[in-house]
């Protein structure tokens, strides 16, 4: 890959939508002289075929390796350009789109020339980012060892069958190898599925007989290390000190949920008041119960309303079997009126023929179980009715079992505080979603029936087979934008792993704390809040690095006039709101300069500090509303980081209002305009941060502090909201206490240190006495002295005595 940037800029006239408003030839003149810019062309439509052909001709003629298109919304157009330029060797990150039409052309009453100036500022910032881009080398992923299917769930067999059909060897770790034995216990996890057993039995037998399938000797999964293509799985056999290790290309976890009877508060006794799981065993293996059987779909009452349709399905299956085989039985299914009946019209007709009765009950009246009768509130007449019962069957409680939880923990796919393993809360485009589907299957992922579990297994098998086939032909590549760990810098604090919501971060080898982390590039989704949270700058998001964003924001901030400011807008709320405002022809203050980012959570505090260091008087961060963040908790993370900046501003005596988070909605551009107008007023009233040496030194200190002070960064990232957390450090429950107890004090200490360091580094002078330092940073003497002694003990400063008075100087390293 060529690291020598040759940037091609293509300005779009967009018919009559840009050209009449923006003086493009003036804009062209302004940016052609930027370093790194190889060519700049004005095209009527770069996005259409004629434009594409022209761009490709330019690429071939001048050897361009970066493209900037100044036209319309990158949210809409970027994918097309990336697809079109791929044959020319362009990959993700090498093409950028600046929205000239939506953010510059129509939205203000500036003159053509002024708009060209604004456009030039935005484009030159994009140029700076392109220069800072170091495209990664495209790497092949080689998967030689076979896939291993662990966990022992029923989906194991459908996944293995799919792999075997593709002629791929696979290893299974299952506790039982007799088809009948496997089916004996199946009703405990999937009740009411007997009709599927013959088919399933054939599949299991086929899998076990397949020449591609090998069964691992039984053992408990103890550890997983490595990344896709080179996993090592360790199994332990009880009573055997030896740990058996297996190489694995990919790992599929097939985990079933554990179904337990509801507690005695539902009257469960295991004899007449039963749970579906043991009742099914009784119906098929002992004797079909005579008399009245009442299935109470009790999921609403046991706190799992989402599982009610599943329980109702299995109740229907069991009830149907009873009625078909015994004339002395009656079956009633009692269900909460809130549940939609999960049976088809044809099935209801069968039910009527057999005499199976569905009885809905009033959701506001809790059914009460008495000896022989259960009473419920009717939704028709609001009378309390009674149903006689000889056997009362309750819904099971579904959640991940201990065994599955252990396996999930070892595999690093566990989400704390939840009944199931399904991980992705992110609402993003499919290409940005992780590969949960390819490594996790079964009812432990989310409550589901047998059919769904087998389908999940089939899907996982198919996706893994696809990946392995691709790797065999050398067509499987590491995605462009993923996190990479610098193992020399990583100390193994594990902050990134806790913050990661895609499960892509793990430990290279071994287990326990303090070990350097590795990113599995095939699982990482490139969300990037983990990289922004790393206290030691060990984690970077390749092709979308922090340096790139710093370069961009610095280039833009340098060009800001006294009342202009930079804004970051996330691509889910702020950016679409701005785009839509532009499309609707709304007008707003032109002093805002928007930079789009995928999610505000990607922004390292150093980017914010850099913006102020390079001269923007204000920084606005427009994101989603806190309850609506599309990437787990990106907006909360951004909030915490902005708050850090505010605290530092307080320490410096700058106005805290200079940096603010705003919440937007894509469909409310008029509200976005209010945000812009209001913040513009604030910035205009505050004016710029005066460029005195003292202020510059303060801003320099803030930048150094948030970028490389690992204590502050660790404190900050440990306070960020975890994907499973309902509350976090900045939340109202903790914010005040957090500030008072540790964060503010630590920040103050470290800030004084950073200021001192700045004094030493910023001047030609070698050594200082305490008085000089005190005046240089205008701090109380006691603070200065205590921080100086700490810096001496940390080895940053050396101390010398002249005439009995201490002098401090920078130590050599």
């Amino acid at each position: 890959m060529n690291h020598n940037p040759k940037i091609g800029i293509f300005l779009c006239k967009c018919g009559q939508k840009i050209d009449p408003m923006v003086d493009l030839s003036h804009l062209k003149k302004k940016i052609t002289s930027e370093p790194g810019v190889e060519c700049c062309e004005i095209l009527p439509y770069p996005c259409l075929e004629p434009g594409k052909d022209l761009i490709i001709r330019k690429i071939r003629e001048t050897g361009l390796n970066r493209l900037i298109i100044a036209g319309c919304e990158s949210r809409l157009m970027l994918k097309k350009f990336e697809r079109q330029m791929e044959p020319e060797g362009f990959r993700k990150g090498q093409i950028d789109i600046v929205n000239l039409r939506g953010h510059v052309a129509g939205v203000s009453d500036l003159t053509r020339a002024q708009k060209a100036e604004k456009g030039a500022k935005l484009i030159s910032a994009a140029v700076a980012e392109m220069i800072a881009l170091h495209p990664s080398i495209q790497q092949n992923v080689v998967i030689t060892p076979p896939p291993v299917i662990v966990g022992g769930g029923i989906a194991t067999f459908s996944a293995a069958w799919e792999l075997a059909r593709e002629g791929i060897d696979c290893l299974l770790s299952i506790p039982e190898i007799n088809p009948d034995g496997i089916l004996t216990h199946l009703h405990e996890t999937y009740p009411g599925e007997r009709a599927n057993y013959p088919r399933l039995k054939t599949m299991i037998a086929n899998v076990l007989a397949s020449p591609y399938v090998r069964i691992l000797p039984p053992g408990e999964l103890e550890n997983l290390a490595g990344v896709t293509g080179e996993y090592t799985l360790s199994f332990k056999v009880p009573g055997d000190p030896m740990v058996r290790k297996h190489a694995a290309g990919t790992v599929i976890a097939c985990l079933d949920a554990e179904l337990t009877p509801p507690g005695p508060e539902f009257g469960y006794d295991g004899k007449t008041v039963l749970c579906q799981t043991d009742f099914e065993d009784m119906v098929w293996n002992r004797k079909i119960p005579e008399g009245n059987t009442v299935f109470w779909i009790s999921d609403y009452e046991s706190g799992q309303p989402e599982n009610a349709p599943l329980s109702a399905r299995s109740a229907w299956n069991i009830g149907k079997h009873i009625l078909e085989n015994s004339s002395k039985s009656r079956v009633v299914i009692l269900y909460n009126e809130q549940m939609a009946l999960p049976v088809t019209a044809a099935e209801r007709a069968i039910g009527r023929r057999l005499g199976l009765i569905w009885v809905p009950y009033d959701k506001s009246v809790r059914p009460i179980l008495q000896a022989g009768y259960v009473n419920f509130g009717s939704i028709n007449d609001h009378l309390e009715h009674e149903l006689p019962w000889d056997h009362l069957v309750l819904s099971p409680i579904r959640k991940i079992g201990r065994q599955s939880l252990h396996t999930a923990k070892v595999l690093g796919i566990v989400h704390e505080d939840s009944d199931f393993l399904g991980m992705h809360h992110a609402r993003v485009r499919p290409e940005m979603v992780g590969r949960e589907e390819s490594y996790l299957a079964g009812s432990a992922r989310y409550a589901c029936d047998l059919n769904d579990a087998l389908n999940q297994g089939r899907k996982a098998g198919k996706k893994n087979a696809e990946m392995i086939q691709k790797s065999k032909t050398g067509r499987l590549f590491i995605p462009q934008v993923v996190c990479v760990v610098d193992t020399d810098k990583c100390v193994g604090c594990g902050q990134c792993q806790e913050l990661c919501d895609c499960g892509g971060i793990g430990v290279a080898d071994g287990s326990g704390g303090g070990l350097p982390r590795v990113v599995d590039p095939m699982v990482c989704t490139g969300g990037g809040t983990c990289a922004a949270a790393c206290p030691y700058e060990a984690l970077t998001l390749q092709n979308n690095t922090n340096d790139q964003r710093e370069a961009r924001v610095a280039a833009l901030s340098r060009q800001m006039a006294d009342d202009e400011f930079v804004a970051f807008a996330c691509s889910w709320a702020g950016l679409p709101a701005a785009d839509n405002a532009g499309n609707l022809g709304m007008k707003y203050d032109p002093r805002i300069h928007i930079i789009g980012v995928p999610c505000l959570g990607q922004l390292d505090p150093s980017v914010m500090a850099r913006a102020f260091l390079d001269g923007t008087p204000g920084l606005l961060m427009v994101g989603c509303s806190p309850e609506d963040c599309h990437h787990s908790f990106g907006i909360d993370h951004a909030w915490s980081r902005v708050n850090l900046m505010k605290k530092l501003f307080s320490l410096c005596g700058f106005d805290r209002r200079r940096i603010t988070v705003a919440h937007a909605d894509l469909n409310k551009p008029e509200e976005f305009i209010k945000t812009v107008e209001s913040f513009t007023k604030v910035v205009a009233s505050l004016g710029p941060i005066e460029k005195t040496p003292e202020n510059q030194s303060k801003l320099q200190s803030i930048y150094r502090l948030v970028k490389s002070n690992s204590r502050v960064r660790l404190l900050l990232s440990s306070g960020l909201r975890r994907p499973w957390e309902k509350t976090y450090r900045g939340d109202q429950r903790f914010a005040l206490q957090y500030d008072r107890e540790d964060f503010n004090a630590a920040l103050k200490e470290e800030f004084v240190k950073a200021r001192l360091e700045n004094v030493f580094m910023g001047s030609g002078k070698q050594s200082f006495n305490i008085e000089e330092l005190k005046t240089a940073i205008a701090e109380e003497k006691s603070h200065v002295v205590s921080q100086l002694s700490e810096m001496v003990s940390e080895g940053i400063l050396n101390i010398r005595y002249k005439g009995g008075k201490p002098f401090y100087l920078m130590s050599a390293n």
Binding site: G15, Q16, P44, Y45, C47, L48, E49, P50, G51, D53, E73, R75, L76, M77, K79, K80, R427, V428, R429, P430, E431, S571, W572, P576, D579, N580, N583, L584, C624, S625, P626, E627, D628, H630, L666, N667, K726, T727, Q732, R733
Partner: protein, 201 residues
Amino acid sequence: MIKFHINGKTVEAEPGWTVLETARHYGIDIPTLCYHEAVLPSGACRLCIVEIKDGNWSKLVASCIYPVAEGINIYTDTDRVRNVRRWIFEMLLAQCPASADIRALAKKHGVESTRFSINNPDEDCMVCGLCARACEEIVGLSAISVMDRGVHKKIGAPFSRPTEVCVACGCCVTICPTGAMRRLIESVRETPAVTLTPLAM
């Protein structure tokens, strides 16, 4: 290189270009609604019609999907084109009278009223399906699609209910040529929770 003529002017195009793309490249204005550069053309709204003349014979085609060919004579502003375009505008004004964008575009082309009966004066969607194509091609999902057929055709999510498939990226709102998606997206995306987690635990 393919040589042909637009409005008497000789233009050059590469194989694979469409008439509309070539015209735009040469700065010739053809009005469009359902066309957007980010997705494949579909020729739904017919507003981009042009006339191909060959001696005494001529035909009208949708230029967004008509591939260029050697020597054809394209006219974008003949009486016939203007007449049919006026009819299309009148039909659009009857279909979606509430859309300010369509009214503005029609006015630009001299059409301000319609002879057709207006079924729903509040309708602003012209059912061109551009949003559904954007959802599929750009986002990679199919949260919204064109439902039903004929005069009952409409845009929405399955069963006209908010769907969790929708990631609320707003591509459909940005791309919508009539502004109808601003209203429709509220029935597609799952609205964010407005109640916050209570403080007391």
